[in-house]
Amino acid sequence: MAIKVGIPRALLYYRLYPLWKTFFNSLGIEVVVSGKTTKKLLKEGLKYAPDETCLSIKVAFGHVQDLMDKVDYLFLPRLVSLERGTYICPKFIGFPDMIRSAFDNLPPLIDTSFNLRKRPSNLFFPMYRIGRVFKKSFLTIHEAYKRALEEESKFLSSLRKGILLPEILYSWEQKRALRPSNPKGNLCIALVGHPYNLYDSFINLDIIKKLKDLGARVITPEMVEPLEIKKETDKIPQEVYWSLGREIVGASFYLLKSKSIDGLIHLGSFGCGPDSFLRELIADRARKHPEIAYLSLILDEHTGEAGVVTRLEAFIDLIERRKMAGRKSQVAGRHLQSDKRQAISH
């Protein structure tokens, strides 16, 4: 029977899954992913996770708990840095240790460190160490590594084409044709935030579906070209040193500037340190683009939808009524002007 390695459906699963899965499968190892987040799974996570961590880490605890009795190894890599000059959030770095101290009877953890801050080309070394856990030869590991990179680049290029991540993962896993469902309408909303908040439909109360139901095409940070992101973040005087944070801020700035969107929603999770900074950076920039509506939502453990639904409905109404008024005023030959002279800021 093949060895089973468990990957929690949380955190950077939503970015690196094609890479990990291809790598393990090419080594002849079976990959087991935890189930989708549910109320019960979250409840388990809350029971075991340290109180002061963020919602996303608490969710990840629930996924580990869901997996631990079903697999031979748990794959919880210690993600320090995945690209030059930036870091992954410190809570990710300590994640394997938090898990060890919280649970008894864990299967062996594969907690290989990934630190590519100085040399991104070093990715092979941690992958090699993972391969050696299973006593595979250098050539076998190298072959698996190459295939994993190929799959990852295919995955990333589908994302850049504007297809939503859950659809890509579904078609990739099920080996089915991609059926992009993003509406083609003329309402376009950018939804920015950490991928594990954007794509965990339980945690975010299915916000992508809600937006699509309201007729909006949804743009996420992964769809923006990395070069454009870099151009924007290079202009910020203080370096944004979180990898995902950099992507979120850069993509937001680019989308605001490009005027290709009608609204921008920042989706943060409760207790996330980086989010509290990113939210302010993005809000500040959004104020300079009054023609684009901006909304900030914070996800919490509560499951009441009313608050989120009210804000989303109002947000979409705001955009549509504004478009309606814009058309009327164009007919009358007027332009929307906002009186900035007496602005007070609080």
Binding site: I298, D317, L318, D339, H346
Partner: protein, 319 residues
């Protein structure tokens, strides 16, 4: 004469308003929801029917407020809109040049930024109720002051006491301390108004472009001390409209009128719905680990609507 009905069912109060074709308010009704939105709507409809002349015809209905979806099903609303839009539309009707709307209700508060009659930005308070009416209500009880007298008392203050208003719990301990050291009730009451205004502007109003004309509506707008505290803090006149407490309902009625222009025919079930036996009940679905709380609305013991499930399997009603 053709008229439009707006129903705003909030956590604390249920408001109804009827307007004519020219958007003039013909009648309004303000009652407490008391945690039973269906009964409140039915009571409101009964009272409203008594007030209206027989020849009036309801041509369209709009619902808003936190129970807007439930209300929409109950009365047969032509449009169901969030309270942000309803309040903004209501304020723009009465004061067409309005640029900022402050709305403070029992459990939530919002700021709406309007330019040229269009909402351009809004914010609502987060889960904490510190910047809302319940903060004042709670402190008034502690002071033994009737909430109705709160505003007049605040206006009598000579030197408002500074009270930390960031958090209701801390505000209370701060207030007790000030009472013990001899501050007068008037000054404390005025200080509470200022604390709430500071809290509102720093949380809900943070980063928003607050420009006059400013309209202040919602239940808390009845409090003259609050109006005075806002004016002092901002340096602008703050307008409390005549129908400050039913602005959401007026907005919903106007939205209904807009909708009817397109749909022509109303779905209004008539004032008779106030006599129909409506009930709600809820159950926990055990179909998957999500354990969704599903809510059912029953009309004469027949289920007419369900919601609350994430997968949508209960939303479809079997006939």
């Amino acid at each position: 004469m053709d008229t439009y009905l707006g129903v705003d069912v909030g956590s604390i109060s249920t408001n109804l308003a009827v307007i004519d074709e020219k958007k003039k308010v013909l009648a309004w009704e303000y009652l407490l929801t008391g945690g039973r939105p269906i009964e409140a709507v039915q009571r409101g409809l009964r009272e409203m029917e008594k007030k209206l002349a027989k020849e009036l015809k309801i041509k369209g209905v709009g619902s808003t407020g936190s129970a807007r979806h439930l209300t929409g099903i109950l009365v047969g609303a032509d449009t169901v809109k969030s309270e942000i839009i309803a309040h903004a539309v209501g304020a723009s009707q009465l004061i067409p040049e309005v640029k900022t709307v402050f709305e403070i209700g029992g459990q939530d508060s919002k700021i709406i930024i309007v330019r040229d009659g269009v909402v351009v930005d809004f914010a609502m308070n987060t889960i904490c109720a510190a910047g809302t009416g319940s903060f004042l209500d709670h402190q008034a009880q502690r002071l033994g002051v009737l909430i109705e007298e709160f505003g007049d008392l605040a206006l009598k203050a000579e030197a408002p006491t500074r009270i930390a208003g960031r958090c209701t719990v801390f505000a209370e301990s701060d207030m007790i301390h000030k009472q013990q050291t001899g501050h007068t009730t008037e000054n404390i009451v005025a200080g509470l108004c200022q604390a709430l205004v500071r809290n509102y502007l720093n949380n809900v109003g943070k980063g928003k472009e607050i420009l006059p004309p400013i309209v202040f509506q919602g239940g808390v707008a009845a409090n003259k001390g609050m109006k005075a505290a806002f004016e002092e803090e901002l340096g602008y006149e703050v307008i409390v409209p005549e129908y400050y407490h039913v602005m959401g309902a007026i907005g919903a009625a106007i939205l209904a009128q807009e909708t009817i222009v397109q749909t022509k025919k109303t779905r209004f079930k008539g004032f008779e719905v106030s006599e129909v036996d409506y009930k709600t009940r809820s159950f926990e679905c055990t179909g998957c680990p999500n354990l969704c709380e599903v809510i059912e609305v029953l009309m004469d013991r027949e289920v007419i609507s369900r919601w609350g499930d994430r997968c949508g399997k209960w939303e479809v009603l079997e006939k």
